[in-house]
């Protein structure tokens, strides 16, 4: 019997209002993501992939439908409940890292733990542990502007990981990096899935980045057009692109 889906999306509909006109962005999405899966969301610009990721991450609200994550229908949560839920269950990785420029790498990683009940000593131990996992222990005291793009994204990964969330959402995590550095970052995400059993949902335009995922979900004009194993979707021609 397969394990229950960590993310269970049913009849998801999202539309934006422009004046009196309703512009649909997502229409009737049905998607299940299982624990320990690495899923890539792909599609052309305006296909609704980032909107879907935002809805899964709980930073946007659907117009209709349910998004059940770890047994909780997050569409029914209030703003405060959703904030608490995100703090406990979601790790974020952004395209432009979104680190606090006035905080060191260590302090940036410590940030999500301020919302936990951990003591200062426990927080510091945990931060040191995850910084070591992303091989940045020697850069703990550096400010973001003293780090390369790849190093900043590793700090962001450590920040996403530090509170041991149910899932990690990554929005174009290699979009601002060169290919080699991007590969290093993707290798790190692979390791999170393989070694720690983390569930990752990633939005990407890059087929080579998508190739790291175990499953590829393709969106077009707000409709899920394909949901298959990544290896089946990525042809040698696409990879060579």
């Amino acid at each position: 019997m397969p394990s229950p889906a960590l993310i269970d999306i049913r009849g998801l509909y999202k539309a934006y209002q422009r004046g009196e006109q309703e512009i649909p962005v997502l229409q009737g999405i049905e998607l299940q993501v299982y624990p320990g899966e690495f899923v890539a969301l792909m599609g052309p610009s305006g296909s609704g992939k980032s909107t879907l990721l935002n809805l899964i991450a709980g930073i946007d609200q659907p117009t209709a439908g349910t998004i059940t994550i770890g047994g909780v229908d997050i569409a029914t949560l209030s703003e405060t409940e959703l904030a608490d839920w995100r703090a406990a269950n979601v790790g974020f990785i952004f395209q432009f890292y979104n680190l606090m420029p006035v905080l060191t790498a260590f302090e940036n990683v410590e940030l999500p733990l301020l919302l936990s009940s951990l003591s200062s000593r426990q927080r510091k131990e945990r931060v040191a542990q995850v910084l070591s996992m992303v091989q940045l222990d020697d850069r703990a005291d550096h400010y973001p502007n003293e780090l390369s793009g790849g190093q900043q994204q590793r700090v962001a990964i450590a920040r996403a990981l530090v509170s041991d969330p149910l899932m990690i959402v990554a929005d174009e995590p290699t979009g601002d990096l060169d290919r080699t550095t991007g590969e290093e970052v993707l290798g790190l995400l692979d390791a999170l899935v393989a070694d720690l059993g983390k569930t990752i949902v990633m939005v990407t335009h890059d087929p080579k980045a998508a190739a790291h995922a175990q499953r590829l979900v393709h969106l077009e004009k707000g409709v899920l057009v394909d949901d298959a194993a990544a290896t089946m979707q990525l042809t040698p021609a696409a990879l060579a692109d």
Binding site: D60, A83, R86, A87, F92, M100, V102, L103, P112
Partner: protein, 385 residues
């Protein structure tokens, strides 16, 4: 601890901007405190006045003198304890710029009415014995470098001619608001000299200063005094010393209102400037606040960050302003000489300066904090992209 560190780091992120805001705030709060001190100084005479003293003057005008003969009739009024008098001398020391108040008084009764003028027993006796003797306040003596025994020459304006006095004593104020810039001389000497020059000018006083046994009866006693001289050639107008001093202040009330308005406007201007700075700061950090909210921080945390930073800058500016107002006031007093009997930045003014700075900080952060607390996370994150 973490939030304090974050507040401090945020405040120092754009050092030049923070420094300029701090400077503007410091100047505005200092100007507010300084102008308030000027207004306080204007009212110092009122504040220093006693509730047990009444001033009896001509009902026609302050420039019209009263007969010395009234003294005996005043002593007969029920409720009075002491009767004294004074004349404005109006002499010039060296040149007009060296202005200071000079009063011709009856030494014994006058000092009995003004216990706040602290003068040593030896100096008091020496003054009473020397008809040409004077006593001066400590600040005045310091300003002109006078010591006891010095001869002081004044050019008379009301009482013509050159008058030569000998300094017999220096008094000090019992409180900070007591005027130490005055010269007191013997009324009898001035009166005799004036009479010798013009017999019709003798035996008149400028005002009577009377002591009363119960401040609660001031109104009743005032009425009794004025009733005594009703329908005479020189009717009197009796009022409390405070009301008498307020009469002088009222003459320059328009200036005082203008000063108070300017101090308020200065605060409003810096409030607008700082609100603009905080709005700019918040707009620049839109994506950071959106990130914090995405990570699970509440809108209240963002509000605390903005208010905290604004209050931190405001408090620093306020403290610096207080620190520079005190020496500035001291330097001004040096420059203004005896224009103000007391020019001191009071504790109340310092507290008001700090309160004004904090209000500026609160108001400046209110709009951006409210705006940032309501920021949509998705739009905020897009701000970076």
């Amino acid at each position: 601890m973490f939030i304090w560190k974050l507040l401090l780091k945020n405040a120092l992120r754009h050092r030049v901007r923070t420094l300029l805001t701090l400077l503007g705030l410091m100047v505005a709060v200092c100007a507010f405190g300084f102008l308030r001190t000027v207004v306080d100084a204007w009212y110092a005479g009122v504040e220093a006045s006693s509730s047990t003293r009444l001033i009896v003057r001509s009902a026609t005008s302050l420039t019209v003198p009263l007969p010395l003969a009234y003294a005996e009739r005043l002593r007969a009024v029920d409720g009075l304890t002491t009767v004294s008098w004074s004349n404005w001398f109006g002499g010039i020391y060296q040149n007009e710029r060296n202005f200071f108040p000079q009063f011709a008084v009856d030494p014994v009764s006058y000092l009995a009415l003004y216990p706040e003028y602290k003068v040593s027993e030896a100096d008091r006796i020496a003054w009473q014995r020397d008809r040409r003797g004077v006593i001066v306040g400590r600040k005045l003596a310091t300003k002109f470098g006078w010591s006891v025994g010095d001869t002081i020459a004044l050019r008379g304006t009301i009482y013509s001619g050159t008058w030569s006095f000998t300094l017999r004593g220096i008094y000090e104020g019992a409180q900070a608001n007591v005027d130490e810039n005055q010269m007191l001389m013997q009324w009898a000497y001035i009166n005799e000299s004036a009479k010798a020059r013009n017999a019709r000018r003798g035996d008149f006083v400028g005002v009577y200063v009377v002591g009363i046994n119960d401040p609660n009866n001031a109104a009743v006693i005032s009425q009794r005094i004025d009733a005594q001289f009703k329908n005479s050639l020189a009717e009197t107008l009796t009022e409390t010393e405070k009301a008498f001093q307020l009469g002088f202040v009222a003459m320059s009330e328009a200036i005082l209102v203008a000063l108070q308005a300017v101090s308020g406007i200065v605060i409003l201007i810096i409030m607008a400037v700082m609100a603009n700075t905080m709005t700019m700061t918040a707009r620049e950090r839109l994506a950071e606040y959106a990130t914090l909210k995405a990570l699970g921080f509440s809108p209240g945390f963002v509000v605390r960050l903005l208010f905290g930073e604004s209050l931190l800058i405001a408090l620093a500016g306020g403290l610096l302003a207080v620190a520079i107002t005190v020496p500035l006031a001291a330097a001004f007093q040096q420059f203004a000489g005896s224009l103000f009997p007391s020019f001191r930045v009071t504790e109340e003014t310092m507290l008001l300066q700090l309160a004004a700075a904090l209000v500026i900080g609160m108001v400046a952060a209110a709009w951006p904090a409210w705006k940032m607390s309501r920021i949509d996370i998705v739009s905020g994150l897009r701000h970076v992209a």
